[in-house]
Symmetry: C2
């Protein structure tokens, strides 16, 4: 059991709060994320979205579901530098966690999707991810699965033609809005339980504020100020170029938001990611090149703040970041509707060398 010293801890909190720009820097995670007006939550929609999220049949080879790369039984990603896609393809970026993604104002590392609804459609048709030729092909496959029809009807009762890619994306987004991890040691601490974090974690919180990490990693999701959906909070990474880490981890091979927009000013801009459950999503950064959280905080301090951390500072920061690991809801497995007597996955994919249209 880590030693906790409530008096010291409460003192440290006061210090930490005084160090921060405003008391609003330290906020617990809300119970409910924002939902768009045109996609209110409902149990039927969440149930449909959960089935779609776990269904591998919307990948070309029937091998990959959303959960394959964003595993909700774990840290919401795949703990790989990059993800394995159709025919063993590898993408250039590391899968971000799905946990608390609903609190991001834009989606993807480069913010190229404004909403979870927009994001959900991307990987299905990405040739190095799920590999479907287009959304129509994915929906054609879905329509062969009779059991989805009543689920779409229940989820979208006012829609005369509910089985659409837009509605599928809405349902997946609704499920993702249930993937929230409250009650981390940090959340309990800022809500007044000063025994919830260890002494080292409190020191880490103070260090986090003192170093200036809160300039970007602020707010309840540690991903910056509250912005309207679709408006991203971006920062340059590396801010300070030329560090040993930049070369070692090839941090500028990918131009980030620039690769999506083509705008020069967007070079090396990245969405500020959440730090919640960051301890569970190694390896780190957009290219997954940094293997440990200890190394990740050193990279951040150097490339963003120009500082070299002592071993003690790094250890304290890592301890604090571990206090951001929340409580994961229990999830019942969906039953995926069957296709009695036949499979919707093309037999032509029986061999690795076959193309999906063989």
């Amino acid at each position: 059991m880590p030693r906790r010293t409530p008096a010291l801890v409460a003192g440290a909190l006061t210090l930490a709060l005084s160090l921060s720009a405003s008391a609003a820097t330290w906020q617990a995670l809300p119970d409910t994320p924002p939902s768009p007006a045109d996609n209110p939550q409902s149990p039927a929609k969440v149930a449909l979205g959960k089935a779609l999220y776990f269904d591998p049949r919307f990948s070309a080879d029937g091998n990959i579901s959303c959960n394959s790369r964003h595993n909700v039984m774990a840290g919401g990603d795949d703990n790989r530098p990059n993800s394995i896609g159709f025919h063993d393809a590898r993408g250039e970026r590391s899968a971000p966690t799905v946990w608390n993604a609903a609190f991001h104002s834009v989606q993807f590392w480069d913010g190229r999707a404004a909403t979870l609804e927009d994001q959900a459609k991307g990987p299905v048709v990405n040739p190095v991810e799920m590999g479907m030729p287009d959304l129509d092909a994915a929906m054609a496959r879905l329509k062969q699965i009779d059991g989805y029809k009543p689920m779409f009807e229940a989820a979208f009762p006012d829609d005369p033609n509910p089985i659409t890619a837009d509605n599928a994306a809405k349902a997946v987004a609704a499920f993702e809005r249930t993937l929230i991890t409250p009650n981390s040691p940090y959340d309990r601490f800022v809500e007044g339980d000063f025994t919830a974090m260890t002494e080292q974690q409190v020191r880490g919180l103070v260090t986090f504020a003192e170093l200036g990490c809160t300039a970007c990693h602020a707010g309840p999701n540690f991903n910056g100020p509250k912005l309207p959906t679709g408006t991203g909070f971006y920062q340059r990474f590396p801010t300070i170029s030329g560090s040993v880490y930049e070369a070692k981890y090839d941090l500028t091979a990918d131009t980030g938001r620039h690769a999506a927009t083509g705008v020069d000013a967007d070079k090396y801009l990245w969405r500020v990611p959440t730090l919640r459950n960051v301890a569970l999503s190694a390896p780190y950064f957009h290219n997954g090149a940094v293997p440990t959280l200890d190394e990740a905080v050193r990279v951040m301090a150097k490339t963003q703040l120009g500082k070299d951390l002592s071993d003690a500072q790094a250890a304290d920061l890592v301890a604090f970041l571990n206090a951001l690991t929340g409580e994961f809801p229990e999830i019942a497995m969906p039953r995926l509707p069957g296709t009695p007597g036949r499979s919707v996955i093309p037999a032509a994919d029986a061999h690795a060398s076959a193309s999906p249209s063989d």
Copy 2:
């Protein structure tokens, strides 16, 4: 709603029972499968086995879990002709269903594993499946995941050194012994609810007996007589050689049990598989070459019994086989223990061309 005619149905049942070799041909699925004396069930063991079953970190690239190929959210297989393994490799055989596998007296298509415990160790180290070099490497990775330690201790409280591959296999087997699907329409029918099957399904049952399918597909799991664990019930497939189906579906490219034993007499011998939930596990047979259940019953009738089915017979048999789809238990997702601040999956696998030891 399919039309049911209880009086006709009860008459048909009497007919069916009289056609069978003995009334014991028609049996409901027991609630509990046999367990080996040295591996009694316990909740802690099942919980551990469930986590291991869903954990992709015991595959070389962190991409494949038992559930990836034997999906318990669906029919217990992957609905593919063959499965996708490490670096997009394809095996030669189609994944059999995990549902009710506990009622088989031997495991794998060729019966080369006597028990579920033996079977569980196979795919982990198969180069075209999970691709670990050996079980020691898999256990070395498991031992890096601290959260598994208390789970092994709880599952094997009398074992001073519980974290072993044998115990991991025992736990997975214990979980698999919970994967039972009782209360299919067939089960309810033979237990006296003569409205549980449709008229066509009852006709299919009669056809199934009349044709002689019950010579092999008998007993509560439709996989033959009750035999001691480790003693397989094998049949030749095709029994009658030279059919059009044999060539069309390349049925003799794989020599079956012979490939495992090297014994000439084992050529084209295969374990008689369960027919429970067979409607959900298309495509069919050891090589997954037959796309539909309708075609599968025609292949069986021709190659095993020398008979050409009429369209009506085939439809009735398919209807009956659909009555073998049972009730699937609700399963809560496991939480996979994390490795805070690091990943146990080698970063060297970031590129598809890299070998696992890079």
